[in-house]
């Protein structure tokens, strides 16, 4: 699988994603600078976390105007696989590749900690190697991860099985007390209509090696490898 990690000014999980894909998952991995127009023919594009352009406006609102984003949108519209993690998810929302928006965490504080996620859809190309309702231990690190959308959109996401991950307890119970940021219906990750674009707030690249306390994020990379068939 050939992977392109986009680097925006202010990206700070770019090298983490790069290292996991290259050294842990042994994929052919490259960086793509935000001013570039060539995505370098990847099987997977990763929009990494960070604080693109300082995120002084709404998170991701400036990054979506980066030259490279035109290529990313086209790539996604042609069925290419894209995952946006944290700030990458926010950029996908701003770019219109995913529906909804982010609010500040309801605590109004930045939160960095390990959380539990329940897998809600194991049919997607991002989750085909996970078991139904499998609970993953993956950290979050964000100030604005309080996902919201109008009720119709939420209903559509639910009906079309596009809610991929929800914040849960260790045993998979979904309740408000396991919701770290106030996201609607404990939503942690969603798919686009075609199922080729995933946005998620938690950081699977931080949970892909035992030495970091969890390898649960690997399930996502392994699913992608499986669906890429290489």
């Amino acid at each position: 699988m050939k992977v392109s990690v986009v680097v925006f000014p202010g990206s700070n999980c770019d090298s983490d994603c790069f290292n996991v894909m290259k050294d842990v998952m042994k994929c052919d991995t490259q960086f793509v600078w935000h001013k570039d127009h060539d995505l370098k023919k990847p099987d997977l594009v990763i929009l990494p976390g960070g604080f693109s352009y300082g995120d002084y406006l709404r998170c991701g609102a400036i990054a979506r105007f980066s030259p490279v984003m035109r290529e990313v949108v086209q790539f996604a519209n042609n069925g290419g696989t894209v995952i946006g993690i944290c700030n990458g998810f926010q950029i996908l929302l701003e770019a219109g590749l995913l529906p909804g928006a982010m609010l500040a965490n309801r605590s109004l504080k930045f939160i960095c900690k390990h959380v539990w996620l329940r897998t809600e859809n194991t049919k997607s190309k991002f989750t085909n190697r996970l078991k139904p309702a499998q609970v993953l231990n993956i950290p979050i690190a964000h100030g604005e991860g309080n996902y919201t959308a109008d009720p119709d959109t939420i209903k559509r996401l639910r009906d079309e099985n596009r809610i991929v991950f929800r914040y849960s307890s260790e045993s998979g119970e979904i309740a408000d007390k396991f919701n770290p940021n106030g996201a609607v219906e404990n939503i942690a990750g969603i798919l686009n209509e075609k199922g080729n674009v995933l946005g998620m707030m938690p950081h699977p690249e931080r949970a892909s090696e035992d030495i970091l306390g969890s390898h649960d994020g690997r399930g996502i990379w392994e699913s992608l490898l499986e669906s890429a068939g290489k």
Binding site: P9, C13, D16, V20, G54, K109, C112, E205
Partner: protein
Amino acid sequence: MSVTMTEEKTRKEPAVIPELLKAHGITPEEYDRIKKILGREPNFTEVGIFSVMWSEHCSYKNSKALLKTFPKEGKAVMVKAGEENAGCVDIGDNYAVVFKMESHNHPSAIEPFQGAATGLGGILRDIFTMGARPIFNLDIGIPTVGGEIYFDSSYEGNPLVNVMSVGLLKHEELAKGAAKGLGNPVYYVGADTGRDGLGGAAFASKELTEESHEDRPAVQVGDPFKEKLLLEACLEVIKSGAVVGIQDMGAAGLTCSTCETASRAGTGIKIDLNKLPQRETGMIPYEMMLSESQERMLIIAQKGKEKIVEDIFEKWDLHAVKLGEVTDGHLMRVYQGDKLIAEIPAKALADEGPIYIREEKEPAYLKETRAFNINSIPDLSSLQGRKGARFTNLAPNTTVTCNDVLLQLLDVPSIASKAWIYEQYDHMVRTDTVFLPGRHDAAVVRIKGTKRALAAASDCNGLYCYLDPYEGAKIAVAESARNVVCAGGEPLGITDCLNFGNPMKPEVYWTFHQAISGISDACRALGVPVTGGNVSFYNESPAGAIYPTPTIGVVGILEDVSMATPSNFQKEGDVIYLLGETFNELGGSQYLLEIHAKRAGITPRLDLKKEVALQKALLKANKERVMSSAHDLSDGGLAVAAAEACLGEPGKFIGAEISSLGVIREKDVRIDAALFGECQSRVLVSLSKENAPKFEKILAEFSVPFTQVGTVGGNRLQIADKINVAVMDIEKAYRNAIPRRMEKVIA
């Protein structure tokens, strides 16, 4: 500052008169010296330049003489303290670390958010200016992996913000801050220059008063986004090989970076202020030279490689403006077009500032605090009713049990879980954080591409230093090193951040001198050099000086990351050892402070010989991978350390049954001293039964006193017949202490 003017454009520079010198903190003797150096009277801009470079903040004039006594040599030291922006230590496999701790106390008192943020920016620039990528820290893609938080009323009105950063680099990437090579171009890179932080270095060199809020323009405003771009661009340009020298513009901004790089290289330097990128209109040379705008660096490039430098900064959307060049001779020359504005020997500014040894006097309060007799406090078995300030909510004649005291101490913010704080920082970015904050004695960060890892810890007990600055400083060094050793690291070097009051007060200078001696003695005994640091004086508010607070940071190396040892109990059935000896030492303890409201007594004594033996034994035990966990005994003593060792990640815990109180060196040991006393050089270790003989042999080899005190297991913590608490209650007290005070909700 009163002398900087506010009207735009047609401003006339004020005359150099005694009032102006006084406002700049220049003494008549210092002025005579300036005239001798220049062979003439300085002009207004030059007065400003001298005032910042000779301020305490930049020149260390009141501390230099004593700082010279620190041990600086070590086999791994690549850059010694004082030579560059930060010290540098070899860690093997062609890697090195650069680390330093710095304060940003004054700005943080006046403007806490920006003050602390720019404190971080400043220390980061000190690290990446040497070619090292910061690997521990915050918010701009550097994890904040550990820290020390200490609450006490003495810091009210003058909080201390000390930031430590550790950077990693390959040997060949080490960059220096010297302006070498005649004719080499001098580049200004990064953000524009504005009036913010004007005279910040001078501001940091005086006491805070009620009027200090008027100094707010002296506090800089940070832009972490720009800092991140600057970091990436600088590391890229250093790797490109086009850079001869590089230095950050921190305190005293352009002034400091130009004269220091020239002084280090023994060259001259000239710059043209007309080329300076400016954010505001109407700035005069004085303001340009003294501005402390953030996110700026000075780069001395190799002649002929200008385009490489310019292209890299262009890529990152940052300025790279050729401001001047390296010149023959030794003068720093500042021009505005053709007009010469200032001309001063660079060395005179950077290295030949005045050095003072101040008058010393032991503070009077010490007689009183030392006279405190522990026998005036009833021991715990007989403690009843309204005895302590913290127990005033109890009905009269209620018996206070050891359990109550333990839970009360776990609720003290200085002891309790700091999760509320560190969960607001990204402590995992860069995917190297092996030990997350809060759960272990030291942070452990792996080094990708090698088997190695770094351990780092920082510590200072301000109350100990108030009661005995010599012993307190010694303990701060020993404890930070012990923390690193417990986590599996071998200490390589220390950095210090010395926070004190006004050094002109003989009592403050005495405590400063005592603390320096304590640090020196501990470092020599442990064989760990001081590789850099920072002094912050004038930490006083209208309520008086802060506790003398010499914060110590220690960095250590683990040859193999698998040597990392957690501080919490790991496995049911493991046996527990208490290493070290216990005395009737309660002076300066959290127990005396929190339960009896007493800031008094004689602090625990630290025997450096015993400390060295203990640390050697632990290092060996770690190398042989004998221990399941190791946790140092500090605030709150044995009971608090055991309680902490029961806690894992939130909601995960394990109990322990401890039947012995360890090696007691008193005929009639007090129960409170045995449980809550803070005797030094003690560590609580757990290990599998099979490893016990091997472990005991190592302890015997280094003559470390020890007792096998109990077993890990169950869901209660029991200590002798004194303490018996459900670990769930321990966790509740420990985790809720700070949230319930900050948010007034109990989770």
